[in-house]
């Protein structure tokens, strides 16, 4: 950074301030920065789940982005068509619509995996492209383009907007700014509820038990009467619903319509980092989402405060993530109460016994 001609201290100060509202200089408002971070965190939580759940079943869902876009498009369409209806009806209908669309998008990969064995990494990546270009088509010259000719859809109606946490009122001053500038919205609670649902599903239901069994040992799962193909499809459908929910919430709570920013949206890819850093547990996903959200929000402030190129900011974020992933995952796992704790050793035979037993030798042929 020093080479790039900027002040490193100012840069990190900007990152911290923008991310977590701490150590802000004179011209930034901490509360606003926290609000911005939360806006980034919300979709990361649900897409993080959409990657983590298939991971438990031994599937690598790279397609959270495509599923998110499917959810966003569907929410926008429903929001435009029914936007003038009552919010308590329209919002749930549109959210469910977005989830179903995400489900469908992921389900394609799930069905292909289960029935013809097409690798889910390949299919989900391809479906990302399909979704991204579909969005492009829809709002540039396509049926969803707004009449004014910009590359954006018309805004959704008032009945399809999630309320912000603070009243939309310019006369009300909170933390020195009018309350309407705080974008933090009620979607946060939906995301937190989704995380709780995810944890419940995984650890407290027969389906979660079977999903984990399929991920650990397909043979054992089959022996236990689990329909492995069906479980793969169901897992992908549920994961897609979580991603679709993320897209729907983004439209409902932040953007109120598709814009060209969705061309370069990376939430679904950041979700992979979230799921891996979060070690696949609900609490871990929330914490990892906060980290990534803070990096995102902080990056913008860092750019303006320290005068660093936006691209360098992205490089720095990647480096921070890289060092965390490389060094600290183990330490985090040991320090935090979530994640699977190493089981206590039985006195008569600890894990090292594997080294001593015959089965430790690799089998080429028996």
């Amino acid at each position: 950074m020093a080479i790039a001609g900027a002040d490193p201290l100012a840069a990190y100060q900007g990152l911290l301030c923008g991310g977590l509202g701490a150590l802000c200089g004179g011209c930034e408002n901490p509360a606003l920065q926290i609000s911005n971070t939360i806006v980034f965190v919300t979709p990361l939580i649900t897409t993080g789940i959409a990657v983590a759940l298939p991971f438990r079943a031994g599937l690598f869902n790279i397609g959270a982005e495509g599923q998110l876009l499917a959810g966003a498009v569907t929410y926008t369409v429903i929001g435009i068509k029914l936007g003038n209806g009552p919010a308590p009806v329209v919002i749930p209908v549109a959210l469910i619509g977005g989830m179903l669309a995400g489900s469908l998008w992921a389900g394609i990969a799930g069905v292909l995996k289960a029935l013809v064995g097409a690798h889910e990494v390949v299919t989900t990546i391809m479906l990302n492209y399909v979704a991204q270009w579909l969005v492009r088509f829809l709002i540039i010259g396509g049926p969803l383009q707004a009449p004014n000719g910009f590359s954006a859809s018309p805004p959704t109606g008032p009945g399809a907007r999630l309320p912000t946490l603070l009243p939309h009122d310019n006369s009300l001053i909170i933390f020195g700014l009018p309350s309407s500038v705080y974008r933090v919205h009620t979607g946060l609670f939906i995301a937190l509820a989704a995380a709780a649902l995810f944890a419940f599903l995984l650890w407290r239901t027969s389906l979660g038990y079977e999903i984990r069994a399929v991920g650990q040992s397909q043979r054992a799962a089959r022996y236990a009467g689990v329909d492995v193909r069906r479980t793969i499809i169901v897992t992908m459908l549920i994961a897609g619903a979580f991603s679709g929910l993320a897209g729907a919430i983004q439209i409902a709570g932040v953007d109120h319509g598709l814009t060209d920013k969705y061309f370069s949206d990376t939430t679904g890819f950041d979700a992979i980092a979230v799921a891996l850093l979060g070690l696949g547990s609900a609490t871990g996903i929330i914490l990892a989402s906060i980290l990534l959200g803070a990096l995102h929000a902080g990056g913008a402030v860092m750019q303006s405060d320290a005068g660093i190129s936006a691209n360098l900011v992205l490089v720095l974020q990647a480096l921070i993530l890289f060092s965390i992933a490389a060094n600290f995952v183990g330490a985090i796992r040991r320090l935090l109460p979530f994640g699977r704790k190493p089981a206590a050793l039985p006195p008569d035979l600890p894990p090292a016994a594997g080294l001593m037993s015959e089965s430790a030798t690799p089998t080429v042929q028996t």
Binding site: T205, R219, R222, G225, P346, A352, A353, P362, T363
Partner: protein
């Protein structure tokens, strides 16, 4: 043949693995030209000790002397240089290569720039096989050979690398009685030719038959040096386990009831799509144990998988009482009252990362007992079920939440046995129920099988251990090439069973 010169002398070997002392101040010496048996239960440290000798594991302290001279063995390469060779329990062979190519692998003779020299290889192998009387065709494809010959190829491979001291790890585990006899002949010939053999086993009868001296290990320590001529099965077992063991299974005569389970003309394919079951029929009565004897790979695995609902049939019927359960999947079969102990404990029977409690409901994760509306797991019911079974089946664990990966083989198997017997099934299909578990656990599992039989369960016992089949079964069905060739009484002579298992012998009339 053997003299007082020591071929191998391990002194004060200590090896600490995290949380366990695998070898504690072990002294182990083998005289040149003897067959020395190393016995002990799983986890006693015998494989660790041999891995130290072969350089796969490094001792924390202690000395290794080979032929009286201190040896530094830091890897298998050093061990081979000292003339030590190891025949692993699971063969390290490449099925699509010929015998010659397998033997040469890593030391291929080359001609010209870098071409494999077939002629040279063949000559070298023929020379070896002639010298030691090991009949073996160097051009046969390894995958086409029976297990006994594959093992012979492993031995030739070790000899080709210049081994004078051969370590054989559980060599008879996969062999028929006849093949074992042939192996013993080969071992005796090798000793005559001046080789020294270390024979790892837990089959005491074989140890008594083949060895000159015996070292017994228990919990990382040597607990006895014995001379084979002066000892017997009971005293070795007592040393191994540390208490008196009942080697014979105590059982009352069976009281067979009505036929509960009937298999009619069953056919099925193997994974490779060739017929593995060619019309298998038998009846199973309440309160009896029907043993299926046979050399592995004659359709027993496919039979149990079909009965367990995890392999499709191509023909025939399976009846539970009057119900046709042929096409039932694994879950429905369990619900109908058929329980399974799968032969592949770690692969199919358990999810290793799951806790004991979780494994104890595997296959019943949607039953009403454990899941509300087949969906929400009832943790309290699961925990109390797990606590009950852990106690009843004497599963040694600090907690029901311990991952089964951390249990010993015997305790892992007890988890499966507990799960499958805990529901008091009508029919129990037990495939290799005691494979690779220690004597204490074998004794326990045998007693439970008999108790289950006496409680009226119909039990199908599939085992590669002929001794096990003979001591537990009330009738013995011999399987050969996908068919039941004969049904024999439990006191049928071992020779006759061995002959039937390899396709010889006249079947009993009216067998099925």
């Amino acid at each position: 043949m053997s003299d007082e010169r020591l071929a191998v002398d391990l002194r004060g070997i200590t090896k600490q693995f995290p949380g366990v002392l695998a070898n504690s101040n072990v002294d182990f010496s083998v005289r040149a030209g003897e067959i020395h048996a190393l016995v002990g239960e799983n986890g006693a440290g015998k494989t660790t000790l041999m891995n130290i000798l072969y350089g796969l594991v490094h001792a924390d302290s202690g000395e290794i002397l080979v032929d009286g001279k201190p040896a530094r063995i830091s890897g298998p390469r050093d061990a081979i240089a000292h003339g030590i060779g190891m025949v692993h329990q699971h063969f390290m062979l490449i099925p699509v290569f010929t015998v010659g190519e397998n033997v040469m692998l890593g030391r291929e003779p080359v001609t010209g720039p870098d071409f494999y020299d077939h002629r040279h290889a063949r000559q070298a192998i023929q020379e070896l096989t002639r010298r030691y009387g090991l009949a073996l065709d160097p051009d046969a494809r390894m995958g086409d050979l029976p297990v006994g010959l594959q093992q012979r190829a492993e031995i030739v491979k070790v000899l080709y690398r210049g081994a004078n001291i051969l370590i054989l790890d559980e060599p008879t585990g996969v062999l028929t009685p006849q093949e074992s006899k042939e192996l013993f002949g080969v071992l005796r010939d090798l000793v005559k030719a001046g080789k020294t053999i270390i024979f790892i086993s837990h089959k005491l009868r074989e140890v008594l038959e083949i060895s000159d001296r015996i070292t017994v290990m228990r919990r990382g320590k040597v607990v006895g040096h014995l001379t084979t001529k002066e000892t017997d099965e009971e005293s070795i077992a007592t040393l191994m386990v540390g208490r008196e063991v009942l080697l014979r299974v105590d059982k009352k005569p069976a009281q067979p009831g009505a036929v509960t389970f009937k298999v009619e003309n069953l056919t099925a394919n193997s994974d490779r799509g060739v017929p593995a079951l060619k019309g298998v029929s038998f009846e199973l009565r309440e309160g009896e144990i029907l043993g299926i004897a046979g050399v592995e790979g004659n359709g027993q695995s496919e039979l149990t998988e079909v009965l367990a609902g995890s392999r499709r049939v191509t023909g025939g019927r399976v009846l539970l009482g009057d119900r046709d359960v042929t096409t039932f999947d694994a879950r429905t079969e369990r619900e109908a009252g058929i329980a399974f102990i799968p032969e592949d404990r770690r692969g199919a029977g358990l999810v290793l990362s799951y806790s004991i409690a979780e494994n104890l409901i595997l296959g019943r994760q949607r039953s009403h007992q454990f899941a509300w509306h087949e969906f929400v797991l009832q943790l309290n019911a699961i925990w109390s079920w797990a606590r009950r079974l852990v106690k009843e089946f004497d599963i040694r664990t600090p907690s029901i939440n311990t991952a089964v990966r951390n249990l010993s083989g015997g305790n892992q198997q007890k988890v499966i046995v507990a799960r499958e017997m805990g529901t008091h099934p009508k029919v129990l299909i037990a495939a290799q129920p005691t494979r690779g578990v220690d004597i204490g656990a074998i004794e326990f599992i045998h007693r439970r099988l008999i108790a289950e039989r006496d409680a009226g369960t119909a039990i199908l016992l599939v085992s590669a251990e002929l001794d096990e089949i003979r001591s537990l079964s009330d009738r013995i069905a011999v399987m050969y090439e996908g068919q039941i060739v004969s049904i024999e009484p439990p006191d049928a002579p071992e020779e006759r069973l061995g002959l039937l298992m390899t396709g010889g012998g006249a079947p009993r009339v009216g067998a099925a």
